[in-house]
């Protein structure tokens, strides 16, 4: 029984989260007898994604469904092709279908599970055995160990909990590369019930939030959109990604895709700097994987200080320019 990994990509490049999912999948494979890893790429004109995938060590097969109906990811169209692979007699049977717990995976993966009449195990943070996994519940205030009795385990992975597999051409010899079987799949019929209208995606030259080594976030204390410039300046000094608390997003200071927390993005950078964030449990849920947490807040009783390694009680409007200048002087 092989493990099917569904790649997250934008038709050009593979998302780093998928490389973390591969680590989780390899851990599952160590608990199985054969445990081949097959990577499924569903998209349109996604040759470059396939090319990148060929440089991933440890894969034994790449499956590609390249068709116009997969140009924009619609769960109604994606789920049937995944299900067809599992139910097809000519293909290997799969013991696990696994993808990252990003908004794409969260969208189609439960649809796949229900079509197969199996449970989904969401957002796993560790692999205990072939059927047993740990996952956070109650915004990470408890960790549940769950065992699945289904023949096929449908799983989403919290990518920040697993290191990415290396993505280097050197990890695969040219010979192996040429032998890496790429299987092209015929598309399934489009559902015709949903239609992609438009995407408004945030363009940013800064590192991506969930994979950045340093993340700086602003909360309600930032007061307005303009003041976030202070964070951007500091972020550029540290090559950091910028995030925000729910309060800052709700107030309209920044876009929704910057939200960190239980229902937003879960991050695990080396350094996290929370600026003007009080530290609601829902926010803390998204940052506890950080190696070092710094909190800057003028309220000495803010709960963020309970989880911060370094706390600075001060006015952020004094601290931010000073910190930027101090870092500039050091560099």
């Amino acid at each position: 029984m092989a493990i099917l990994i569904v790649a997250e990509h934008d038709n050009h490049t593979i998302q780093p989260a998928t490389l973390s999912v591969l680590t989780a999948a390899s851990e599952i494979a160590t608990h199985t007898s054969d445990g081949e890893l097959h990577l499924l790429i569903i998209g349109h004109e996604c040759e470059s994604v396939v090319e990148i995938a060929q440089s991933i060590a440890g894969l034994s097969q790449i499956l590609v469904a390249d068709h116009q109906i997969y140009q924009s990811p619609l769960a109604e169209n994606i789920a049937p092709i995944i299900v067809s692979l599992v139910q097809s007699k000519t293909q290997d049977q799969y013991s696990h279908i696994i993808t990252s717990a990003g908004t794409a995976g969260k969208d189609y993966q439960p649809r796949v599970a229900a079509m197969l009449d199996v449970a989904q195990i969401s957002d796993i943070i560790s692999v205990e055995s072939v059927d047993t996994f740990k996952r956070p519940i109650y915004a990470g205030n408890a960790i549940a160990t769950v065992q699945s009795s289904d023949v096929i385990k449908v799983i989403t992975v919290r990518s920040s909990a697993f290191p990415p597999v290396p993505l280097t051409a050197e990890s695969v010899t040219t010979e192996a590369l040429n032998q890496m079987p790429v299987v092209e799949l015929a598309p399934q019929a489009a559902s015709g019930k949903s239609e992609f209208i438009k995407a408004e995606l945030t363009q940013s030259s800064r590192p991506e939030l969930t994979t950045a080594k340093v993340v700086i976030s602003g909360g309600r204390g930032m007061q307005n959109t303009d003041n976030f410039e202070l964070l951007y300046t500091l972020a550029d000094q540290l090559n950091a990604a910028v995030g925000a608390s729910r309060a800052a997003v709700d107030a309209g200071f920044v876009a929704n895709d910057l939200q960190i927390g239980q229902t937003g993005k879960i991050i695990a950078p080396d350094l996290y700097i929370a600026v003007g964030i009080s530290g609601a449990i829902q926010h803390i849920a998204g940052i506890t994987g950080s190696k070092i947490i710094v909190a800057i807040n003028n309220d000495p009783d803010a709960p963020i200080f309970d989880v911060a390694d370094y706390g600075l009680v001060a006015d952020l409007f004094d601290v931010l320019p000073e910190l930027t200048a101090a870092l500039k002087a050091k560099s």
Binding site: A75, D107, Y138, A142, T145, D257
Partner: protein
């Protein structure tokens, strides 16, 4: 148009959740229960559609113990018309919830099913998508804006990792709602009184033909690792020194 809204009863989001002594779950004795916040947003949206004239009836459905009638009354006080309680004391997992809701959908034939995108207890984020699969309906997950367009179509703006994506779905459809769709109202006293006279229909999983079959067993529930308490620094210079010399992260 009829809108069906699924409601889950959960530990109130303000409660500081603790793992119980035998590590089988969390401490639930004397803990305040409430409507899952995302479900409350779904109810508010359905009620707004009714107030705007795009919906005629808003029906709530909850799967849970008899005490869940408290949450259903609270939902009725927000403006829903009637409610269904699928009564069970068992722990019902997402796939079974979706199967139960599927039966209710077959009975009620709603044009739109609204759900919260996730429950704040299990944090699964599955039920709406599973219901869509079972009913064969299109799905709009993590909605921050919902607009009815030409007859039998709905435009959904979704909050996704990279920003926003807008889809058009044929009705009937399943939509799961995100935080920024709306801010739920507080029920007024007259509406709370009125809600007492609204109908809650009781049923049970076996009455609607679903045998609960949990697939996941929780072996253990434990507290997360605790972060060691940190230190307060005096000023920016001190902070930069500590980050460089001690933490070595910059």
């Amino acid at each position: 148009m009829k809108i069906l809204v699924a409601v889950k009863r959960v530990v109130d989001h303000k409660v500081n959740v603790r793992v119980n002594a035998d590590e089988t779950g969390i401490e639930t004795a004397n803990v305040k229960m409430a409507i899952n916040p995302f479900c409350e947003i779904a109810i508010e949206q359905a009620v707004r559609f009714k107030e705007q004239g795009s919906a005629d009836e808003v029906v709530l459905v909850c799967i849970g113990p008899k005490e869940a009638d408290v949450q259903l009354r609270a939902g009725l006080a927000l403006g829903a018309d009637r409610a269904i309680l699928v009564r069970t004391d068992e722990e019902v997992q997402s796939l079974d919830v979706a199967k139960l809701l599927h039966k209710i959908v077959q009975e009620e034939l709603p044009d739109l099913v609204l759900l919260g995108k996730q429950a704040i207890d299990t944090d699964n984020n599955q039920t709406g998508q599973m219901l869509a699969a079972l009913t064969g309906m299109p799905q709009g997950t993590f909605a921050s804006n919902i607009v009815f367009t030409v007859p039998n179509r709905v435009k959904v703006t979704r909050e996704v990792d990279g920003g926003l994506v807008t889809l058009a779905l044929n009705l009937p459809a399943v939509i799961t709602v995100d935080l920024r769709l709306n801010t739920p109202r507080y029920a007024s006293l007259p509406n709370i009184m009125k809600a007492k006279r609204k109908v809650i229909t009781m049923t049970a999983p076996k009455d609607i033909g679903v045998n609960l079959s949990p697939r996941l067993t929780t072996l253990r529930v434990e507290s997360p690792p605790v972060r060691q308490p940190g230190v307060k620094v005096e000023n920016v210079t001190d902070l930069v020194d500590k980050l460089q010399q001690q933490a070595k992260v910059i």
